[in-house]
């Protein structure tokens, strides 16, 4: 993808915004290392909702396999970065 890619900070902010919107947590809680389930109080339903919201936000599909690695805010940002950057693992 040759178009301008968002910066790491922009990606982090968008992932934070989605987490805040879905989980109704405070911005200061949504640190890069925050775990969705253990730190941000997400239950299994919230986790699925979060995945759907991330797909909607970034217009990218996330497979069930890929979803397993999205445990923290930071790992999600890294994943999105690879995904929209077109870098395949």
């Amino acid at each position: 993808m040759l178009m301008d890619l968002p910066s790491d900070e922009q990606l982090l902010e968008r992932v934070q915004n989605v987490a805040i919107e879905i989980l109704k947590v405070k911005r200061e809680e949504v640190t890069s290392g925050a775990k969705f389930i253990d730190d941000l109080g997400a239950d299994s339903l919230d986790k699925v909702t979060l995945l759907m919201a991330l797909e909607d936000e970034f217009k990218e599909s996330i497979s069930d396999e890929e979803a397993k690695e999205l445990t923290t805010v930071g790992s999600t940002v890294d994943f999105i970065k690879r995904k929209i950057g077109g870098i395949k693992q």
Partner: protein, 449 residues
């Protein structure tokens, strides 16, 4: 003692308008909505009917709906919530946030445990099921086609349209009772939460059940109505009705396809969907809080012709029996009815039977029209939308024209060409559904306060 039931709010979304003001003004000016079916549907089948009444879904962001709700609900549930919200606002009721994460509210000034929800739907979230099934089946098909490396392909006219994600909420999106449940959850209404499915009579049946629950004193307040959404991506639902031979052919001008009670009728105009929700209250409660009463509900009856799953009994005795129960139980008589909002589908059989029984029981005095002449047939929503029309007719003292009625099959007092003004005291809305269901609601001008 039976309590008087008041309609204090109306929320409606139909092919001819969103919100009661836009909807009602378009009804009164006789705006008929119909157009050719989506061209790509023709890639899958050759239909007898060529027309439908499309539904423009509203911008959901104008309602209290968040991103999660929009992703996890079928349009039929979103329509229910949007119309419920409009009905509450119309009734002058205020809500306060109950749970930010769930985006739920409480209604100020009502007893939540004595408040119920009664919704009718013919098919619930059927479209969400068709979408999930498309993902289930077509995702591997698409992958297989891609692996053939262009040695074969589908024509452009047959796009493989499906969501990449099999929606994990598909069960909740599909279940018919979600129409009521989402409203109960949204507003914390902890009384009965009932979904009625009596096909084309569902909306009328649901409002009837709510009427009975309030009139008997079981509850004080109800949100009640009907919702339907049938616009699946491939037109398979349309095909189901089409192959049953029930739909208007639409060979000429699309807006002239829906012709209830006309000698040239060919079937009903398939509607993509719609919804109406009424705020209903014990009239004493409504007046105590200073609410404006749009109309009163004063009677309801229902029965079944016990005849055929898809064909109305041609004798129509069950309809007459329904009237007898309706008038006996309400204390009113057929001679007092000023206006009938007919079921009026424009199928050959319905209109023949309905008009014959109406003439036999009511004569040619009451005004009569069919809202389906304007917006087609929205199945489970139809009876609720038509109850809203009946209430608005009483409130405004005007009845909308029944369009495309150039050669009536019976000399009834049809409202044609232009709206008709009359100070309606008593009105009847009636609906009949596949399975043999009949339902009739009596509405009355509010008593002086």
């Amino acid at each position: 003692m039976r309590k008087t039931v008041a309609i204090t709010g109306i929320g409606v979304i139909a092919p001819n308008g969103c919100g009661r003001d836009e909807f009602w003004s378009n009804c009164l000016r006789g705006l008929a909505v119909a157009e050719e079916i989506p061209p790509h549907w023709n890639a899958y089948n050759t239909y007898n009917s060529r027309v439908w009444a499309p539904l423009q879904l509203p911008d959901w962001d104008q309602f209290s709906l968040n991103r999660a709700e929009k992703m996890q609900m079928d349009p039929v549930q979103l329509l229910s919530l949007a119309c419920g919200e409009m009905a509450l606002k119309d009734a002058g009721l205020k809500v306060t946030l109950r749970d930010e994460k769930k985006n739920t509210f409480s209604i100020e000034g009502i007893d939540a445990f004595r408040s119920g929800v009664f919704m009718g739907t013919g098919n619930g979230g059927l479209v969400s099921y068709t979408r999930a099934q498309a993902t289930h089946v077509l995702a591997p098909v698409k992958k297989a086609l891609d692996n053939m490396q262009n040695t074969c392909a589908l024509p452009d006219s047959m796009p493989l349209e499906f969501s990449s994600r099999f929606n994990p909420f598909v069960v909740a999106m599909t279940m018919p009772n979600a129409c009521s449940a989402v409203l109960s959850i949204k507003y914390g209404l902890a009384g009965p939460s009932i979904t009625v499915s009596t096909a084309c009579a569902s909306g009328t049946s649901a409002i009837g059940q709510a009427y009975r629950a309030i009139a008997s004193g079981e509850i004080n307040t109800a949100l009640a109505g009907g919702a339907e959404y049938l616009a699946d991506p491939y037109g398979g639902i349309f095909r189901g009705f089409d192959t049953a031979g029930t739909l208007a052919r639409g060979d000429g001008i699309a807006s002239e396809a829906s012709r209830p009670f006309d000698s040239k009728r060919t079937g009903f105009l398939f509607s993509a969907g719609g919804c109406a929700v009424l705020m209903m209250e014990d009239a004493t409660q409504a007046r105590a809080r200073g609410a404006k009463v749009i109309a009163e509900l004063v009677g309801y009856s229902e029965n079944c012709d016990a005849f055929s799953i898809m064909g109305m009994s041609p004798e129509g005795d069950h309809v007459e029996s329904m009237y007898n129960t309706l008038f006996d139980s309400s204390g009113f008589s057929a001679g007092q009815v000023d206006y009938i909002n007919a079921h009026g589908t424009a199928t050959l059989l319905n209109d023949e039977v309905e008009s014959r029984i109406v003439e036999r029981v009511f004569g040619s005095r009451p005004f009569i029209n069919s809202t389906k002449s304007l917006i087609g047939h929205s199945i489970g929503a139809a009876g609720a939308i038509e109850t809203a029309v009946t209430a608005l007719s009483i409130e405004s003292g005007k009845m909308h024209p029944s369009v495309n009625l150039t050669d009536p099959i019976r000399p009834l007092n049809f409202v044609v060409d232009k709206p008709c003004g009359y100070p309606i005291t008593l009105a009847l809305n009636q609906s009949f559904g596949f399975g043999g269901h009949s339902a009739g609601l009596l509405l009355k001008r509010p008593s002086p306060q």
